[in-house]
C-alpha cells in the first residue's frame, strides 16, 4: 500500500482505495462474481412464489420447471457463448427447428436409421453455425444483421422441408429418448434435463479453464488487442458459432423428447427468450463479461416467473411485464458493473 501511495498519487483513485462504500463493495462483488445477481433474484423470486402458492416448492412442480427449462436453457447456452464474443444470434430458434425437422424427417419419412438421422440433425446444427460464423468472420457482416438474415433462411428451409407435417416418432424411438423420465428421490427429471446440466458443466469448464475459453472472453472484450497478441480471432469466432450450432441441434433433440413430436409450430419467442435468459443471467451484451452458470440461473428465472405467476393465477401479460423489467434491470446492472474501472 505504501508504494501505491508514493507512486500513483496523481492518477485516478486506484480501485483498492480504502474509501469503498457499501454500494462500491456490491459493485466489486458483482464484478468478480457475475452469476451472483441472478442467483439472488432466482432465490428471492422462488421464495415469494412459494409464499403465494405453497405448491411452488413441491418436487413435482420443481421437476416440471426443470423439464420446461431444458430447451430454452440449451438455446441460451449457445446464445451466451456468442454474446460473450460481443455477437448475438437471432437465428437460434430457426436453427433448432431446422435441425429438429431434419432429424425427425429423415428417421420417420425417409426411413433412415434413427441414430444416423440424429447425427445428421446435429450436422445440420453445425452447418447453421458455420453459415452464421462465415458471415460474421469472412464477410464481416454484423452478427445482428447476419443472423437476422439466416433467421429467415433457416425458418424457410425448415418449413419447406417439413411441408406442414407434424412428425410423431414411436414411443421407443431414440428420437424421444431425451424425454425419458428419470426418478431421483421424489423428483422426476428427464434425460433432456441431465443433458442440459451436463452441457452447462462442460461449456462452463471450457470457458473458465482453457485457453480457448480465455480467448473467447478476450475477443469479446477487445477484438483488436486479441488479434495483436496473436489470437486467431477468425478461427476463434468460427469455432464459437460452430459450437453454438451444435448446442442448438442438441436442443432440437431435447425438444422432440419433451413434446413427443416434431413440428415447425413452436413458439416464435425462442430467439428472444434465449437472449433474455442470457442477459438476465449477467452475460453482457457488449461481450467479454459473464459466466454461463448465470445463464442457467437466467433460464430458470424465466421459467420460475412463468410457472410462479401461472400458479398465482396471474395473467400472461404480467409475466411479460416482469420479464421485460428484469431485462432492463440486468442491463442497467451490467452498465453499472462496467464502471468499476473508475
Amino acid at each position: 500500500m505504501a508504494e501505491n501511495l508514493v507512486t500513483a498519487p496523481a492518477g485516478p483513485p486506484s480501485a483498492d482505495a480504502k474509501s469503498r462504500g457499501p454500494g462500491n463493495t456490491v459493485q466489486h462483488l458483482l464484478h468478480a462474481h457475475p452469476s451472483l445477481g441472478p442467483l439472488v433474484v432466482l432465490i428471492v423470486a422462488a421464495i415469494i412464489f412459494d409464499l403465494i402458492n405453497g405448491r411452488f416448492f413441491s418436487a413435482a412442480n420443481l421437476s416440471i420447471m426443470l423439464q420446461e427449462a431444458a430447451v430454452i436453457g440449451l438455446l441460451a447456452l449457445g446464445q451466451s457463448i456468442i454474446i460473450l464474443t460481443a455477437g448475438i444470434d437471432l437465428s437460434v430458434g430457426a436453427a433448432m427447428i431446422l435441425a429438429q425437422m431434419v432429424m425427425a424427417g429423415l428417421a420417420i419419412n425417409s426411413g433412415w436409421p434413427v441414430a444416423l438421422a440424429i447425427l445428421l440433425g446435429l450436422l445440420v446444427g453445425l452447418l447453421t453455425g458455420l453459415i452464421d460464423g462465415v458471415l460474421v468472420t469472412r464477410f464481416h457482416v454484423p452478427p445482428f444483421i447476419g443472423t437476422l438474415g439466416t433467421l429467415g433462411v433457416f425458418t424457410a428451409l425448415g418449413l419447406l422441408y417439413a411441408n406442414g407435417q407434424t412428425l410423431t416418432p414411436g414411443p421407443n424411438s431414440l428420437l424421444v429418448w431425451t424425454g425419458t423420465v428419470i426418478h431421483i428421490g421424489s423428483f422426476s427429471l428427464t434425460t433432456g434435463v441431465l443433458i442440459m446440466l451436463a452441457l452447462y458443466l462442460v461449456v462452463g469448464f471450457i470457458l473458465a479453464r482453457t485457453a480457448w475459453g480465455k480467448h473467447v472472453y478476450a475477443v469479446g472484450d477487445e477484438p483488436e488487442a486479441s488479434r495483436l497478441v496473436g489470437i486467431n480471432t477468425t478461427r476463434l469466432l468460427l469455432s464459437v458459432y460452430l459450437l453454438a450450432g451444435l448446442v442448438y441441434a442438441i436442443a432440437a433433440w431435447v425438444q422432440i423428447g419433451r413434446v413427443g413430436d416434431a413440428s415447425t409450430d413452436i413458439s416464435s419467442t425462442l430467439n428472444l427468450d434465449s437472449i433474455t435468459a442470457a442477459v438476465i443471467g449477467g452475460i453482457s451484451l457488449f461481450g467479454g463479461r459473464g459466466v454461463v452458470l448465470g445463464t442457467l440461473f437466467g433460464a430458470l428465472i424465466v421459467q420460475v416467473f412463468q410457472n410462479g405467476l401461472a400458479l398465482a393465477g396471474v395473467q400472461d401479460l404480467y409475466q411479460q411485464l416482469a420479464e421485460g423489467l428484469l431485462v432492463i434491470l440486468a442491463v442497467a446492472v451490467d452498465q453499472w458493473i462496467r464502471r468499476v474501472r473508475k
Partner: protein, 264 residues
C-alpha cells in the same frame, strides 16, 4: 553500455537485429509509407519520431506483423523474413506494445501477461483436456513483475480495467519484455500518461535496454527521446528523412528535420 556508436549514426559494421528496405504501404489513396529503410542495431534504443501521419505506426505495424507491407524487404539478424500476422513476428521474438493499448480490460493482470501464450497443466489434464495452469501463470507473472521492479502492480489477479493508465501501460510493457527475446517495439508508450506515470515507463524502458534488449521507441515526447535514445530515426511524409544522434543533434535540429524546415 552496449551501443557506443563511435562511428556515428551510420555505423553499419554490426548486423542490425531488425532491418527493412524500401517498405511501402498504401491505404486506398493514402500512401502511409513510400519506401522506408530501417535499421535497429544490437542493444540500442532507436527512437522513431515524426509528425502526425508521418507513417510511424504504419512502419512498426509492418515490423510487427500487424500489417503486411505492399512491397519491401524485412531482415531479422540479416536473414530475410516475412510476417504474415502478429503471431509470426512474436514467434520470431519481436514483441510490440501498440499505440492503442493492447490489453483485455476484463481479464486480470496475469491473464493479460499470458494472453495467447497460456501455460497448460502438466500431464493429461493439460495435454488432453487442455486445462490451464493458473497457479503457475500467476506465480511467473508475479516473479516477472517484481523482477522488473514494477511496484504499482501489486495484486496480479486484479482485472486490468481497475488499473490506472500508467499501470495498464506497465502491464503491456511487462508483457512485451517477458516474451520479447529479440527486440521490443513501443508505440508512444507515454502518450496517454501524466508526468509521473511517464517517468515510470521511461524508467522501465531504460531497464529493458540495460538487460540488453534492443528497443524501438516511437514517441512525440522529445525530452524523453533525447534522454533515452542512442539513435533517432526521423520519419517524414512516409519516408526516413534522417538518422541522427542525440550527441550530435539538438532537439531543434530534430524538429527542423521532422517538419522539413531543414534537410538532414
Amino acid at each position: 553500455m552496449t551501443s557506443q556508436d563511435e562511428n556515428g549514426p551510420s555505423d553499419t559494421s554490426r548486423t542490425p537485429v531488425l532491418a527493412a528496405t524500401g517498405l511501402t504501404k498504401s491505404y486506398g489513396r493514402v500512401e502511409a509509407l513510400r519506401g522506408v529503410d530501417f535499421e535497429l542495431l544490437p542493444g540500442e534504443i532507436l527512437a522513431v519520431i515524426g509528425d502526425n501521419g508521418a507513417g510511424k505506426s504504419t512502419l512498426i505495424k509492418c515490423l510487427s506483423g500487424a500489417t503486411t507491407p505492399d512491397s519491401g524487404q524485412l531482415y531479422l539478424d540479416g536473414e530475410e523474413v516475412t510476417f504474415r500476422n502478429p503471431q509470426a513476428a512474436q514467434d520470431a521474438g519481436i514483441e510490440t506494445v501498440y499505440q492503442t493499448l493492447a490489453v483485455a480490460p476484463a481479464l486480470d493482470i496475469a491473464s493479460n501477461l499470458f494472453l495467447g501464450r497460456e501455460l497448460r497443466k502438466k500431464g493429461p489434464l493439460g495435454g488432453l483436456l487442455r486445462v490451464l495452469d493458473f497457479a503457475e501463470m500467476r506465480k511467473q507473472a508475479k516473479d516477472h513483475v517484481s523482477r522488473m521492479g514494477i511496484e504499482t502492480l501489486q495484486d496480479i489477479t486484479q482485472p486490468v480495467e481497475t488499473l490506472s493508465g500508467g499501470q495498464r501501460q506497465a502491464v503491456a510493457v511487462a508483457r512485451a519484455a517477458a516474451f520479447g527475446s529479440k527486440l521490443v517495439i513501443l508505440d508512444e508508450p507515454t502518450a496517454a500518461l501524466g508526468v509521473r506515470e511517464s517517468g515510470q515507463v521511461v524508467k522501465l524502458i531504460r531497464q529493458l535496454r540495460d538487460n540488453g534488449l534492443p528497443i524501438v521507441l516511437i514517441s512525440h515526447d522529445m525530452p524523453s527521446v533525447f534522454e533515452l535514445a542512442d539513435r533517432i530515426h526521423v520519419q517524414r511524409l512516409g519516408r526516413r528523412a534522417a538518422v541522427i544522434s542525440p550527441k550530435t543533434h539538438t532537439m531543434n535540429d530534430a524538429v527542423a528535420i521532422m517538419t522539413g524546415a531543414r534537410a538532414a
